[in-house]
């Protein structure tokens, strides 16, 4: 076992009755990185997280977390791990402070030290003025911060967060990621799941999970390169017929009708294409001339920013080929 690895999973499977939730998943997470599990709802992310935490026994496969074999050695793991469940899982009839103190006591933090730690966390998460409020009366963003606070009470080295930003407004999500980056700078390893593609850009490395398998893995930049094997060009054209057929020499990833001119418009519809190019500056002129030869009016053509969503769609459509 490699001591630089925080999580090492081999051939993980979990079957519920006839439903295969996790289907031969492999994962290597390095100590000190922010690692994202990205995938749609039902991809098996939560089940994987629960097995990593020892909350569920795998049907088969091996899980080593910080060198501890799960779920057998979960007692040792719990000491160094902070966990935030997908659903808010603190006591709504306890106050913010009572929740933090309760968990602090369970970790055996001495009284005086605990008081310091609680006020430190309240200030870090800007929850001081709500410390006496019942957790059930907090807003979504505050609940999320409280849950992070409880996960951090014992200064864990590994932080496991299951969809921490689900259902929270984008500005609050960005703020939450500021906290995570801050913690990561203090060498906390973070494993986070999300189905927000934009959010995954914050991770050092990500695994795309679909139907209980890792279908692609790497840094966000790597993934985009590897998956697309080149640059993405966005071309907007107007005219009758299928512009994709004129571009048979390159790969069209996505196509959508743009602008007001609907399909019935006398001039034909404005269509926005996302096209994959080996080398954008060299191929864009060729694309334009091919389209014009086919009778289309090219309104614009430029290299574009690849989102993880593009990557995901591409990977899932061509599942198996990339993995």
């Amino acid at each position: 076992m490699d001591p630089s690895l925080a999580v090492e999973i081999t051939g993980l499977r979990k079957v519920f009755g006839t439903f295969v939730a996790v289907d031969g998943l492999d994962l290597r997470i390095k100590k000190g990185e922010i690692y994202g599990l990205l995938g749609p709802n039902g991809a098996g992310k939560t089940t994987t997280i629960r097995m990593i935490c020892g909350l569920m026994a795998p049907t088969s496969g091996e899980i080593l977390v910080w060198g501890y074999r799960m779920p057998m050695e979960r007692d040792a793991l719990i000491r160094i791990t902070g966990y935030m469940a997908q659903k808010f899982s603190l006591y709504e009839d306890l106050t913010v402070k009572e929740n933090l103190e309760f968990y602090g006591r369970l970790y055996g933090i001495p009284r005086k030290e605990l008081a310091e730690r609680v006020s430190e966390l309240l200030s870090f998460l800007t929850l001081e003025e709500f410390s006496g409020r019942l957790a059930g009366r907090l807003s979504g963003g505050m609940k999320q911060r409280l849950a992070l606070g409880v996960a951090l009470i014992h200064r864990p080295r590994l932080l496991i967060l299951d969809e921490p930003t689900a259902g929270v407004d984008p500005p609050i999500r960005r703020m939450f990621w500021e906290y995570l980056r801050g913690l990561n700078k203090e060498s906390v390893t973070i494993l986070v799941t999300t189905h927000y593609m934009d959010e995954a850009e914050n991770c050092d490395r990500i695994a795309l999970v679909n139907r209980g398998r890792v279908v692609a893995e790497g840094t966000p930049r790597d993934l985009k390169r590897r998956v697309f094997g080149g640059d993405l060009v966005e071309v907007t054209v107007r005219g009758r017929g299928d512009p994709a057929s004129a571009l048979s020499f390159c790969r069209v990833i996505d196509r959508q009708v743009a602008g007001e001119g609907g399909p019935d418009c006398a001039l034909g519809s404005a269509v926005k294409l996302r096209v994959l190019a080996q080398d954008a500056p060299r191929e864009i002129p060729a694309m334009i001339s091919a389209l014009e030869r086919a009778g289309f009016t090219v309104l614009s053509a430029s290299p574009t920013y690849v989102t993880l969503e593009d990557v995901f769609i591409s990977v899932v459509e061509g599942a198996g080929r990339v993995a």
């Binding site: 306890l94 970790y107 001495p110 019942l134």
Partner: protein, 371 residues
């Protein structure tokens, strides 16, 4: 454990107590139910004994018939409710439920008696309510017995007289007879139902998942919760005992410490049972239903409603494994007979076994997993 740290089980106790004080439903259950039950019990069982009113048909009209009617009025358990003129009329009245029984004094009752011939008195009885019917039969026997004693004295004839001499008497009132039963009801139903949601509510709300990601152990969870609910429900035990002794004037002939001791053991058993239900239930609704369902056999075979020894040998066998039966028996013996624990080794041992079993099964089967 680091120095200065609170033991984990104490953290659980504290958290549970805070939650109990913030839950109106639990507070009502802890405080109000025992008081209401004791109040209703005091009102219903504490007053003077009620009388059964019967219908009289006096076809004799003579001196002895009148004497028999007045003997009925003097009996503490029966009174004359109405008079009828014929057997048919009396039978109709009993069938319609006007009275549970009718007494018919035949024509020639006085003359037959005075001439020394045997006489028959007919009693028409409604058997649809067996307890009431048997009370009426007992009363009629008593009336006839008293009447015969009086008659024998008048004619200087021979008679056999019964003299009752009671132990644990002079009399045990209804209130005293039922106090052990009512205390058993409160100590069974309230703690079991209350604690039955303790674990499954955490599972239902998702808080269990976070809880078990901390270094808390199964024993911390189970015994922390048990201790908190014990602190909360011990008040119920004290309230019910206090009301019985100080408000209803129930006399405790044995030691109050013995009573407190067996009540505590029983209370802990009830809490352990509720905890077991909670560990086994999937959600709060299921747990509440289970707590109430399990209460039914406890109640049926506890000897509080009907003496199990008289029901059937099967009932007696079931009662033997019913902790409520042993509790009521021990409680009654201490309260009414003045027994001490050494005379009650068998029921007390049964209660201890029950408590021990309940307290150890729940932690043994609790899984720190999410499934």
């Amino acid at each position: 454990m680091p120095e200065g740290a609170t033991p984990k089980v104490m953290a659980v106790v504290r958290k549970e107590l805070i939650q109990l004080t913030r839950d109106p439903r639990s507070l009502v259950m802890i405080a109000l139910i025992p008081l209401v039950v004791m109040l209703l019990f005091g009102i219903g069982y504490g007053g003077s004994t009620g009388k059964v009113g019967i219908v009289i048909v006096d076809m004799d009209g003579g001196q002895m018939g009148t004497a028999l009617v007045s003997a009925i009025s003097e009996t503490p358990t029966v009174s004359v409710k109405a008079n009828a003129h014929s057997i048919e009329e009396a039978r109709t009245m009993v069938s319609k439920g006007v009275a549970p029984a009718a007494l018919i004094i035949p024509e020639g009752f006085t003359s037959s008696l005075l001439s020394g011939s045997p006489v028959r008195v007919l009693v028409i009885i409604d058997e649809s309510s067996p307890t009431l019917a048997s009370t009426v039969k007992d009363s009629m026997l008593a009336v006839t017995y008293n009447f015969q004693q009086e008659f024998a004295r008048q004619v200087h004839g021979p008679s056999v007289e019964l003299i009752y001499n009671s132990v644990y008497g002079p009399t045990v009132t209804n209130l005293e007879a039922f106090t052990p039963f009512v205390i058993a009801l409160v100590l069974q139903l309230v703690p079991t139902t209350l604690i039955s949601i303790a674990i499954c509510r955490e599972k239902e709300k998702g808080t269990f998942e976070q809880l078990i990601m901390s270094p808390v152990g199964r024993l911390d969870i189970i015994f922390g919760k048990l201790a908190a609910y014990f602190i909360a429900t011990i008040a119920d035990m004290l309230i019910t005992l206090f009301v019985a002794i100080n408000v209803f004037g129930v006399v405790i002939r044995g030691s109050i410490f013995d009573l407190l001791l067996i009540s505590t053991v029983y209370l802990l058993g009830s809490l352990g049972l509720g905890m077991l239900i909670s560990v086994l239930s999937r959600n709060q609704l299921q747990a509440n239903q289970a707590a109430i369902f399990i209460f039914i056999p406890f109640l049926l075979f506890c000897g509080g409603l009907a003496p199990v020894e008289l029901l059937s040998p099967q009932a007696a066998a079931i009662a033997n494994v019913n902790p409520m039966y042993h509790f009521i028996m021990a409680f009654r013996s201490i309260m009414i007979k003045g027994y001490g624990i050494p005379q009650l080794l068998q029921p007390v041992a049964a209660l201890l076994v029950y408590m021990g079993a309940m307290m150890s099964i729940a932690p043994a089967i609790l899984k720190l997993r999410v499934e």
